[in-house]
């Protein structure tokens, strides 16, 4: 999955400067979460009035909310940006003050526990929705090694929660998909140890060859098949998992579905399409429930952007 930079137009890089981020971190340290939320109002308003920023989420908003008046469009865009901002504030609060709670229904907890108890390892496939970056923080509920496939743009000034203060680093290992052989050997190593591999299922980090088309919100998007291929080859289950922010400093994990990919599906990309489609279905169900917690701010339906 050596990243094809020319074909990828989305970016994980923050819109704001390092200085702006530090102001927020300072505000959180000395004033707490709600000061930062208040500051967000002005920052988000500033971005919302910029047509280039609104355009990034326009295709999603059109598909999710339909044709809207100009004021309606501003409102939707503001809410989307605000939810993202609150999630980033919560992430910083967790890093600086250690305050965040993530829960799950008893049924979902049991599902995760049962999958882990099989001892085969598992793949968690998630998306850029809700509070996915904080969802990773509760993976330590599961015994065994945990690895997260994470792409970070160079010079990104935005800090993960475990990068604040004197934190000892994340409670999981990070696999860079730009590494040798796209990090697949590291992914396999985690599974062989009976661990948990967490992969984003909605964006391409690598070769366009490893993509498949799925139906999503009335159109077609391309999603990576790496998770399904690894699950098939190594005979491990997949848990499609999303998290959403339920309030200030609170989130909830949701196990959308468990996918058992048949063994030895081989090299043909199309063989993995039905399983990628199940993920897309889960993602669509998520945005139906939490329309303002979808953070793919690029036109996913335009395949040039994948």
């Amino acid at each position: 999955m050596a990243t094809n930079e020319k074909q990828r137009t989305w970016s994980s890089k923050s819109l704001a400067s390092s200085f702006a981020h530090n102001i927020f971190y300072w505000a959180i340290r000395f004033g707490g979460r709600y000061i930062a939320y208040f500051m967000l109002l002005f920052v988000v308003a500033f971005y919302t009035v910029q047509p280039t920023i609104r355009k990034r989420s326009s295709e999603y908003r059109l598909r999710r909310f339909g044709q809207r008046s100009f004021l309606g469009e501003l409102s939707d865009c503001f809410k989307l940006q605000m939810e993202l901002g609150k999630m980033l504030v919560d992430r910083a609060v967790m890093g600086i003050l250690g305050e965040f709670t993530m829960d799950a229904t008893d049924q979902d907890k049991q599902t995760l526990t049962d999958l882990a108890a099989q001892g085969r390892g598992m793949v968690l496939v998630t998306g850029h929705v809700g509070c996915w970056q904080l969802g990773m923080s509760v993976l330590d509920l599961i015994d065994g090694p945990i690895a997260v496939v994470m792409y970070t743009d160079e010079n990104d000034v935005d800090r993960h929660y475990y990068e604040h203060g004197d934190k000892q680093g994340p409670p999981f290992s990070i696999i860079d998909p730009r590494g040798p052989m796209g990090g697949t050997l590291e992914m396999m190593e985690i599974i062989k140890k009976g661990g948990v591999l967490c992969v984003m299922g909605d964006r391409n980090f690598g070769s366009p060859k490893g993509m498949v088309d799925v139906k999503f919100m009335g159109g077609t998007i391309s999603v990576p098949i790496s998770a399904y291929k690894i699950a098939s080859t190594m005979n491990v289950p997949i848990a499609v998992t999303f998290s959403h922010r339920t309030g200030a400093g609170h989130g909830r994990i949701w196990i959308s579905r468990v996918i058992d990919v048949p063994e030895e599906l081989g090299r043909r990309t199309d063989n993995y399409q039905p399983y990628a489609q199940q993920f897309a279905q889960g993602l669509e169900e998520f945005v139906a429930k939490h329309p303002y917690q979808f953070f793919n701010f690029f036109n996913m339906w335009d395949h040039k952007n994948q």
């Binding site: 999955m1 050596a2 040798p180 052989m181 796209g182 990090g183 697949t184 050997l185 590291e186 396999m188 190593e189 062989k192 690598g206 070769s207 060859k209 490893g210 098949i225 790496s226 291929k229 690894i230 080859t233 190594m234 081989g266 090299r267 043909r268």
Partner: protein, 83 residues
Amino acid sequence: MSLKDTLKTTLVKELDLIDINPTEIDDDAPLFGDEGLGLDSLDAVEIVVLVQKFFKAEIKDAEEGKTALMSINTLAAFIESKQ
């Protein structure tokens, strides 16, 4: 048939590399990337499994894999070291 020849034939057959003749694969050519065999990262998953299945050689961790999966020569050397 030598181990390297068997390896080439197995890779071509199991990875369904229809445009490649096993006899034309250079022993030192990189398996991955634009040069050499041109395999991608998802093929690495397949190779790890087929090396274990057909040659009884387990690639236990990523470091071992990175060394072994460079070329036919390195992969053959790895398999020999495990037998």
